[in-house]
Symmetry: C2
Subunit: 218 residues, 2 copies
């Protein structure tokens, strides 16, 4: 029974890593579609969201099966529940990449980001992709130090988010349309990063149980 | 064992209803703080977010205990997992009420919403509170028709969201600051409503299993 449980769990971990790589690719392509007004890339990201939803459903089914068939308790149960929650988080990251691509598509053939803000969004795109890449490594390897490093990248994202807002309020943006787009895009990148942080924290909690453990379940 | 399971589950349902009422109150007060530039109300909403987080942790602990101790399968397992997911959704609704209150606090003693947009935000506030109220009833009573009615309210919210955006782009807003605030507030209400819809859908799924059921877990 322990072996069946571990085999099933390994399959779920593989699925989670694949799903993380998928949303990472989506966010990279969404950023490219945004910065280069590349409509084809935008469409491909928007289409990929179905794949993400399917992956989430698959992981939800597999984790529910594990719970029903293997009836894990204590740490084993916590691992399965964490996997289930991570799939929800990743599904949301896919949505955010899709939101970015939809803004790019809406403004095509124009670029949604005013020139003055392009360097900041190039940086946000880089940090978002790095954070998603780290999340995949952390899910695969359960490395606590690496998991914690995601938070440091999030500090960079927060600084960028604040800097974009400052530039916006300093008047680099001409039209209300641009202000609306930049405000939302700024938030999409920030939220994407928050979700990567949440994955890192869940792994830390799994490995060293940093939150107050539940005495009955332990 | 079945009785212990059902008693534990009833307690979780009560907790979920209380948590839904709490986020409903928070959103009402957040709207009041926003529309009346009421700083005290804003502070009280911001403080209440800790209560929401604690309620979510409590439900997470209780549902994990039920799984570990009662080992529910099939429909029973699905019910427990749904309760767990609903608590995550409600926690997020509390965050969104807090975000609204934080904008109100940031602009105090000014009002964040320009006069021309006040009627729309009054409506959004009303719809958001109605939807949260319905969500509480639906969690308590598992009424499928009532659960489905949440989606109709969401159509109203989507119309209002679109109308605010249209007014924004038509130039009712003077400063970039206002444009940023209105864009984000518009999104917070829309997301709050989306989460209420998700609660309705989960109840429909629980009661009549509308999504493709997972053959192994059933």
């Amino acid at each position: 029974m322990r072996n069946a449980y571990h085999d099933a769990l390994d399959a779920v971990t593989d699925d989670l890593v694949a799903m993380t790589n998928l949303v990472s690719t989506m966010m990279r392509q969404a950023s490219q579609s945004l910065l280069n007004a590349d409509r084809e890339k935008a469409e491909s990201v928007i289409a990929a969201d179905e794949e993400v939803d399917a992956a989430q459903q698959e992981i939800e089914n597999k984790t529910t099966d594990i719970m029903a068939l293997q009836q894990p308790v204590a740490t084993d149960l916590r691992i399965v529940l964490t996997a289930m929650r991570m799939s929800t988080t990743l599904e949301r990251m896919g949505d955010l990449a899709q939101h970015v691509a939809k803004v790019a598509r809406l403004r095509y053939p124009d670029k949604a980001i005013p020139d003055a803000l392009v360097p900041k969004f190039v940086e946000m795109a880089r940090v978002a992709e790095e954070m998603a890449g780290l999340a995949a490594e952390v899910i695969a390897g359960k490395d606590v130090e690496l998991a914690r490093s995601i938070e440091r990248h999030d500090d960079q994202m927060d600084d960028l988010h604040r800097a974009v807002l400052d530039q916006l309020l300093a008047g680099v943006v001409g039209t209300t349309n641009e202000a609306v787009d930049v405000t939302l895009l700024n938030r999409y990148y920030e939220r994407f990063a928050d979700h990567a942080v949440s994955i890192g924290r869940r792994v830390v909690y799994l490995v060293i149980g940093e939150r107050t453990p539940d005495p009955d379940a332990e």
